[in-house]
Each structure stands twice: as structure tokens, then as C-alpha cells.
């Protein structure tokens, strides 16, 4: 059944260019869902394909459930068919010349499962993905979402040790994507399988993952639980990628204080770095509080001028001029409180602002 996956110092170098995967190490506990998140071309698929055995790593080791399946330094390369893993491809990859049942039954045919037991397993997994009524249909008559469920059923039917999913929702339309996203987590958890899920969509990653690993340029930048990822980004890339849009230049003037070039001092609860370092202060637009002018002045409260406001229905985004920067802030609510040219005050939260070296 579900097993632990350990990837350590994985490297994959294609014939040309920089390595597609560069010294990536992480661990997925049995039954856990880990999402690899990152922009297109950052090496997510390559990592997944190395774990599946479809690609041979250049260096590093991969072990599944305690068995080493890839260790190029020692010449270990277990072929995909012996790794006992399931994989869902971005392009579905369901076989168009077979029915739904034949597709799902295919892996069992190669595992010498007795016929009646195989039938039972196929029925059970089709029920799990909600395709019981479609069992005898040719897959070419299914919609994209249904094909993706067939692919999922096919990957789960033999109770693999690990399930790998490569952007399984990216070819579906937006509405279906939202529905299937929530359902995927339920199905994977119900199947109690260890899962590694690849996507470039943050919303998908947050909903699906127990933990999220952010990748860039073949490197794993941070791997942590979604709440931590959004509230304790370890570096500028992760902060940016998860939606931090405001960066303010400054210099650490004392522990817990950053002096800006305009002269003001920002209080930051837990700044990294030592006094004298040139830094960037990163602030999420959602974490900036806006106050009408004159309302009580607490820490990190500064005057600001509204440049423009954009009403989005349930929220309003403001462009503000303050601290010598143009800053973005978002306020929830259907009633915009400020309009252009208003003079207001902003409060930068000391607990939710982060400092990164410049």
C-alpha cells in the first residue's frame, strides 16, 4: 500500500543547458499529498518523470517505501513497470481504442490478478471516481473531465505505492477544474495513497496539498504546509510567487527595525539579517490596513495618498503612494471606502512583513 517517498540530491541534466532538476531533496510521508508548485519550465515534470522511472536521473537517489529505485552512481535503475507506482498524465493518455473498463483493467492484466478479483477492483475504483455508469463506454465518447477520471482510476486500480499527477487539471475548462480539484483531494485521501502532485496553479496547490514545494529553475526553494508558505516565505521568490507584490527598500538599523531611504523606520517583528544589511521589505497587499486620515496612530502607521482604486465587486484594490513607493493594497467588502486623491493612513503589520537581503 501507500509508501514513503524519499528524493535526495536529485539532479537531471539534459544534453544542453542548465540542469532541469538541480539538487532537489524532499520527503513525502506515507499517505501524504505533496504538491510541487512552480512556473512552467522549472523542472516539475522532469522531477516527476525521474520518480516514475521514465527519465533516468543524472545524480541523486530516489527510494520508494525503503526500496532504492534510482541511484545512477551505483547503476541502479528500476524500470517503471516494476516500481509499482501510478501516474496521471497532463494529456490524460487514456487509450482511445479501449473502453473505460478495458483502460482501467489494463494494469491488472499485467499483474496476474484473477479475473473476478480484477473485475471487483475495477468496479470499486470506478465507483470511487464516479464513473460506474460509464464502464462499457468507449473512452472517445467521454468529456475531458471524465477522461481524466478514467486516467485516475487506471492509476489507482492496482493500489500503487505512490500516485504521481502531472498537471492533471490543466487541460480542463475553469469551472470543471474547480470541481475536480476538490474531488481529487477526497479521492486521493480515500484511496489512502501517497501522492505527489505537480501544478503551476497556486489555488490548486493550496487546496490539494498537505505540503507544497515551490520550485524555480530546477531548484526546490521551500517546502512547507500551505499556511506556512503564505505566512513564512523563506525567500523572495517564494514570497513573489505566492502573491507578495509590495517591496520596499531599506536598511536594518537596529534589531526589529528597518530604516527606509525616505527616513521613516519600519518595525518588523522577526527580521532576518544583521544591523547594516541592505534589505527588501516584502508586504502582501491583503495584509496592509487602510485607515481614514486622523484615526488612531499605532506602530507602522504612515500617511498615504490614493492614486487610484479598482473595484472588483467583492474587493477593491488600491494603488497608494507612501514611503516613497507605489504600493498595492487590497480591502475586502463591496463598498469601496476611498477614492483617488484621498489622503489616508496605512498600517504595515509588523508580524506579517518579511525582510529579505537585497
Amino acid at each position: 500500500m501507500s509508501a514513503e517517498l524519499i528524493v535526495s540530491h536529485l539532479r537531471k541534466q539534459f544534453a544542453v543547458g542548465r540542469p532541469a532538476v538541480d539538487d532537489v531533496s524532499f520527503r513525502v510521508a506515507a499517505g501524504e499529498i505533496v504538491v510541487l508548485l512552480g512556473p512552467s519550465g522549472c523542472g516539475k515534470t522532469t522531477t516527476l518523470r525521474c520518480i516514475a522511472g521514465l527519465e533516468q536521473p543524472t545524480a541523486g537517489t530516489i527510494s520508494i517505501g525503503g526500496d532504492e529505485v534510482a541511484a545512477p552512481e551505483r547503476g541502479v535503475h528500476v524500470p517503471p513497470r516494476l516500481r509499482n507506482i501510478g501516474m496521471v498524465f497532463q494529456s490524460y493518455a487514456v487509450w482511445p481504442h479501449m473502453t473505460v473498463r478495458q483502460n482501467v483493467n489494463y494494469p491488472l492484466r499485467h499483474r496476474k490478478v484473477p479475473r473476478d478479483e480484477a473485475e471487483r477492483k475495477v468496479d470499486r475504483v470506478l465507483e470511487l471516481v464516479g464513473l460506474s455508469e460509464y464502464a462499457e463506454r468507449p473512452v472517445t465518447q467521454l468529456s475531458g473531465g471524465q477522461m481524466q477520471r478514467v486516467a485516475l482510476a487506471r492509476a489507482l486500480v492496482y493500489e500503487p505505492r505512490i500516485l504521481l499527477l502531472d498537471e492533471p487539471l490543466s487541460n480542463l475548462d475553469a469551472k470543471l477544474r474547480l470541481r475536480l480539484r476538490d474531488e481529487l483531494r477526497r479521492i486521493i485521501k480515500e484511496a489512502k495513497v501517497t501522492a505527489l502532485y505537480v501544478t503551476h496553479d497556486q489555488a490548486e496547490a493550496v487546496v490539494l496539498g498537505d505540503r507544497i514545494g515551490v520550485m524555480e529553475n530546477g531548484k526546490l526553494m521551500q517546502m512547507s504546509a500551505p499556511v506556512e508558505l503564505y505566512n513564512k516565505p523563506e525567500n523572495l521568490f517564494v514570497a513573489n510567487f505566492t502573491g507578495v507584490s509590495n517591496l520596499i527598500k531599506g536598511e536594518i538599523s537596529a534589531p526589529g527595525a528597518v530604516r527606509l531611504s525616505t527616513g521613516e523606520t519600519l518595525r518588523i517583528t522577526a527580521p532576518r539579517g544583521k544591523t547594516g544589511d541592505a534589505v527588501l521589505v516584502a508586504i502582501r497587499p491583503e495584509n496592509i490596513q487602510l485607515r481614514p486620515n486622523g484615526e488612531g496612530a499605532d506602530t507602522n502607521s504612515f500617511p498615504a495618498r490614493v492614486i487610484e482604486g479598482h473595484f472588483h465587486g467583492t474587493q477593491t484594490t488600491y494603488a497608494l503612494e507612501t514611503l516613497g513607493h507605489r504600493i498595492e493594497a487590497i480591502e475586502l467588502g463591496t463598498v469601496p471606502r476611498f477614492s483617488a486623491h484621498d489622503t489616508i493612513r496605512v498600517v504595515i503589520p509588523p508580524d506579517h512583513s518579511w525582510v529579505f537581503p537585497q
Binding site: L54, Y106, R154
Partner: protein, 585 residues
């Protein structure tokens, strides 16, 4: 631009423009009727009569379905039909094995020298079937075949015999494998590799993936290639004429020719058998079109796939050597055989030592070949027919292609349909149809170079139009529209925009037509006279006259000529690709 063409496109003059459109379509339809419909109609009439057009004159027919039905019941026809089906069926099977193997090796394995293998897989397309058959009869005839001499010398107690059904199947199979290869290689290239990877992860072994996923997925391409190679084999004359005659294995094509060579010639029986051949071919063409246009499994998801390449390990040298063996069988051995036979005074080779005895070699066969005025005339005739076919066929194909694809002229659907009809008519049947259409008319075309050229134009019209349409469609419609907006008329636009852009395509199509025309045998057989003798027919005559030396010399001359022309065509069409400036976005 002349005032006339300006008037033709001016909106106010719409009435005149429509009448011009009708005039144009009408002219094309008349031409197509003359080239295609009339001869086929005469063929049908011929099948329904038992009069002889030469003796009884033109237009006097004793029409009755009885004649056709009598032919249907003739055991000789049954025998020929059965032989055709067995030879082509077996040949197709072999072609599928060879074509599929090489397409898989080229697209899906890490065999070294893949570009070389890909080229080798296509080479047989360029070998004239008659020359291939002649070469193989020199190599593997049961008594004097060079291969048999060799293995006897080595001491192996085995003899090749190419004059058998097995021999016919083998030669068909190895020379028509490219038709299967073309289809399956592109299908394999376009297949989403994830489909196979999913099977790999599901636990299937590589061999099982091949048979449960890969081959079923490209089944439409395999079937398509199978049908096409079957159709081509069914209509070919040269190979069964050379290999089938000694062992008395008549197929439909050779049987039809035999009927017209009877004395007195059985022209109406020949027409009936030709119609049987045409019906079988037509049915297969219909099936093939259905498979091609039908739902294909190939799921290209719009991104450049890197087809999964299988690491064959040391076995990759085995797959490479398969390609080398294939090259030896289809090209090297036949060429060597032709060279030996053409330059040796006597082909009888007592031992292997005498094979290398230079005293046995001379140019005598070439001298005798060129001393024969008929041979020289046949070369000039062939060139003349080829040139006429290329020029007029090319112009007609351009006119039809442009009308069908780029205008909304009245009747363009009918023009399209009639001009593609010859796809389903084997060359030999066209020959019989033209024979029926013109032999009875005194003072007509029969006996001139032109009847050959017209038959070739009709026969190759679909291929030419298709080749041209591809280059026409590459010229973006907006380029023409831009010219119209700039005030050019229709003819002015064609002259200043379309022709210059399509010229490489037109020239390449004409060259292709020239090559096809000069190697055509099937339809020439019925239309030549001693004044209009062409190379392919004379080559067959030499072969049937038993003079292997001159036959081989002539084969080499023709092959060399073709090789030069194909080189030119290749060069021209590459220029075409370079100048595809008009491509869409």
C-alpha cells in the same frame, strides 16, 4: 492588366463575370470529359459488345450484358483474379512487416544512423518496377540466377526461384513496403508518447506495449498503407510480366495484355477484365479514403512531443543491420546484377572465378543497343511524351487546382470529382480505355505520340493536382486579396502574385509528372506503335526476346536517366520549400 480583365472583376459587371465563370468551368469540364469520361465510357461500351473496333469500325456495337457475364464466368479470368489477389495479398503482408518494422526502428528506437535508415526505407519508390523485376530475374532465376551460382559455389544445397508465386510475393513485398512505411512512420511520430508511457507504468513489458497499445493505435495508418500498397500492386504490369511469365502465373494485368495480343485480339474481353480490375481497385480506393478520413486515434495535443525512444542496447546494431540488408536486397544486389549482365559478353557464369575475369567484360551490349535505331527513337519518343505530359498536364492541373481551391466558380465540385476519378483506374485500364476510345476512329489520335501523352495526363492528374494544391494552399488567401484591393484583376493577380509564389511548386509538379510519364509502362502497352515506341515498352520487348545483355544495358541507361531527373526534382522541390514566403502566419 487589360481592360477586359478589369471589367471582369468590377462589381458592376457581375453579370459578365458569372458568364465568364461558366465559360471557364464549362471549358474545363469539356476537357475532363474528353480526357477521362469519354475513354471510360468507351471502355464500358467495349465490355458490353463483342465487336472488334479495328475490324468493324467505330460506332457499330452489338450491345448486350451477355458478353460481360460470359467473361465473369470464364475460369481463366477466375484464375488470373485469384493469382492477383494472392500475390497482392501476400505482397501486402510482407510490405506491412517490412514497413512497420522500419518505421518503428526509425521513430521509436535509438538505432544508430536513423536518417540513413529512413532514406533506405523510401528508396524502392524510385526504382522502376520493371527494372527491379528484370534485375531479380537475373539474380534469382532457378537455373542461371547469379545468386544460385554463388550458393552452389559455396556448396549450399538451396536454389532461389523467383519465377514462382513466392517470388512474386517477395518482390512485391520488398518494393512496395515504402507505402506502408510512409503512413506508419508519420502516425508513430504524431502519437502522444504518454500513451505508451502510461502502459509502461501500468506494468506492461515493452513487447506487450507494442502489441496492446502502439500498433492498435496506429491501426488506421497501417490499414491505409496496406490498402494503398495493395492497390498499386494490383495495377502493376512490369513485375508480374517478368516474373509470372516463365512459371505461367497470369494475374489480371498480364492477362488483359495477353487478350489484346491474341490473334485476333479479344479487345472486348480485355475491356471486361479491365472493368473487373477497375471495380476491385475502385472499391479498395473507397475503403482507403474512408479509413483516411475516418476517426483517427492519433491524439496530438498541440505541442512538440519528444517521441519516447526505446533504448535497444546492443540490439540496436541488429536493427541497423536489418536496414543494411534491406538496402542490399532492394538496391545493391539488383544494381550489381544489372552491371554484371550489361557488361559481360555472356551471362553464363561457370564459376565465381570467371565472374572476376575481366576478359569476359565489354561494351558490346551498349553498342548493340545504340546501334538499334528503334532504341534511340524510343528514348527520344519517351522524352517527347514526357515533356508534353509535363507541360500540358502541369498547366491543366494548375488550372483545375486553382479553380477548385481558390475560386467559387460554378461546377467546381464536379471538376474536383472528375479530376480525382483516375485515382481508382489502374494505368493498364486507362491504356485499354484509350485504346477503345481512339483505335476505331480513322485518322484520329491512335498511333501518335499525343495519345500516350493524353493517357498519361489523365492517369496522373490526381497526383499532379494534389502536389500542386499543397503549394497553392500554402499561399495565404490574404496575399491574393491584398492584390485585389490594390486594384489588380483576377488574371492580373494570378500572373503577378499566385504564379510567382507557386512557381517552385508548379515546376516540381511538372518534374514529377515528367518522371512518372517516362517510366510508365501499363498504359503505354496498348497505345504505342513502332513509330511511337517508348523506353519502358522496348525494355520489356528486349526482355521477352531473351536478350539479357541488352535488357540490362537498357535498364542501366533508364535507371541512370531517372536518377538524374529525380536529383533535379529533389533540388527543385527543395527550392520550393525555401521560397514558401506566402505561408500563413
Amino acid at each position: 492588366m487589360t481592360a477586359e480583365t478589369a471589367a471582369l472583376v468590377a462589381p458592376r459587371e457581375a453579370g459578365r463575370r458569372i458568364s465568364f465563370g461558366w465559360l471557364w468551368s464549362g471549358a474545363l469540364l469539356v476537357l475532363l470529359t474528353f480526357l477521362v469520361i469519354y475513354p471510360v465510357a468507351m471502355l464500358v461500351l467495349g465490355a458490353l459488345t463483342n465487336t472488334n473496333p479495328v475490324v468493324d469500325g467505330f460506332g457499330i456495337y452489338d450491345l448486350s450484358l451477355k458478353n460481360f457475364i460470359t467473361v465473369l464466368g470464364n475460369p481463366n479470368v477466375h484464375f488470373a483474379l485469384a493469382n492477383s489477389l494472392i500475390a497482392c495479398g501476400g505482397g501486402t503482408l510482407l510490405a506491412v512487416i517490412i514497413g512497420l518494422t522500419f518505421s518503428w526502428v526509425v521513430v521509436r528506437t535509438n538505432t544508430p544512423c536513423k536518417r540513413f535508415i529512413a532514406a533506405v526505407s523510401m528508396i524502392p519508390l524510385f526504382v522502376p518496377p520493371l527494372v527491379a523485376a528484370v534485375a531479380w530475374s537475373i539474380l534469382a532465376s532457378p537455373k542461371t540466377g547469379l545468386l544460385n551460382t554463388m550458393i552452389k559455389w559455396v556448396g549450399i544445397d538451396f536454389r532461389f526461384d523467383v519465377y514462382t508465386m513466392g517470388g512474386l510475393i517477395a518482390i512485391f513485398g520488398i518494393y512496395y513496403a515504402p507505402y506502408v512505411y510512409m503512413f506508419t512512420a508519420s502516425a508513430l511520430r504524431n502519437m502522444d508518447p504518454a500513451l505508451e508511457e502510461a502502459a509502461e507504468i501500468s506494468g506492461a513489458t515493452p513487447v506487450r506495449i507494442l502489441f496492446t497499445v502502439t500498433f492498435p493505435l496506429i491501426a488506421p495508418a497501417i490499414i491505409s498503407g496496406m490498402l494503398l500498397s495493395f492497390i498499386v500492386m494490383l495495377g502493376i504490369y512490369g513485375i508480374p510480366a517478368v516474373l509470372g511469365a516463365p512459371g505461367d502465373i497470369p494475374v489480371l494485368t498480364t492477362y488483359i495484355f495477353k487478350l489484346t495480343n491474341w490473334s485476333p485480339p479479344l479487345y472486348s474481353t480485355a475491356a471486361s477484365v479491365a472493368i473487373i480490375l477497375m471495380i476491385v481497385t475502385g472499391f479498395l480506393v473507397f475503403l482507403q479514403q474512408k479509413v483516411v478520413s475516418g476517426r483517427s486515434y492519433i491524439t496530438v495535443a498541440g505541442k512538440a512531443f519528444r517521441p519516447g525512444v526505446m533504448n535497444l542496447g546492443p540490439w540496436r546494431y541488429l536493427t541497423l543491420s536489418l536496414a543494411v540488408i534491406y538496402l542490399i536486397v532492394v538496391v545493391v544486389l539488383p544494381t550489381l546484377a544489372l552491371i554484371v549482365a550489361a557488361f559481360r559478353k555472356f551471362l553464363f557464369i561457370r564459376s565465381v572465378e570467371s565472374l572476376f575475369d575481366l576478359k569476359q567484360y565489354s561494351l558490346i551490349h551498349f553498342e548493340r543497343l545504340f546501334d538499334n535505331p528503334l532504341a534511340v527513337r524510343s528514348i527520344w519518343n519517351t522524352m517527347e511524351v514526357g515533356l508534353i505530359t509535363a507541360v500540358f498536364g502541369g498547366i491543366l492541373a494548375f488550372a483545375i487546382g486553382y479553380t477548385v481551391h481558390r475560386t467559387n466558380a460554378a461546377g467546381r465540385r464536379s471538376i474536383d470529382v472528375i479530376s480525382t476519378l483516375p485515382v481508382a483506374i489502374p494505368g493498364l485500364v486507362i491504356g485499354v480505355a484509350y485504346l477503345w476510345a481512339w483505335i476505331g476512329l480513322p485518322g484520329g489520335l491512335y498511333g501518335t505520340i499525343w495519345i500516350l501523352a493524353l493517357a498519361f495526363i489523365a492517369r496522373f492528374m490526381p497526383d499532379t493536382i494534389k502536389a500542386l494544391s499543397t503549394s497553392l494552399l500554402q499561399i495565404h488567401k490574404e496575399l491574393e486579396e491584398a492584390s485585389w484591393i490594390c486594384g489588380k484583376g483576377l488574371l492580373g493577380t494570378i500572373r503577378t502574385i499566385v504564379l510567382p509564389l507557386a512557381r517552385p511548386g508548379v515546376i516540381a509538379a511538372m518534374t514529377l509528372l515528367f518522371i512518372l510519364a517516362i517510366r510508365e509502362l501499363g498504359s503505354s502497352l496498348f497505345l504505342y506503335t513502332s513509330n511511337t515506341m517508348v523506353m519502358a515498352v522496348l525494355l520489356l520487348d528486349y526482355y521477352e526476346g531473351g536478350n539479357v545483355g541488352i535488357t540490362s544495358a537498357f535498364s542501366l541507361v533508364q535507371t541512370l536517366l531517372l536518377a538524374v531527373l529525380i536529383g533535379i526534382a529533389h533540388f527543385l522541390s527543395r527550392g520550393g520549400a525555401d521560397t514558401s514566403v506566402g505561408r500563413a502566419g
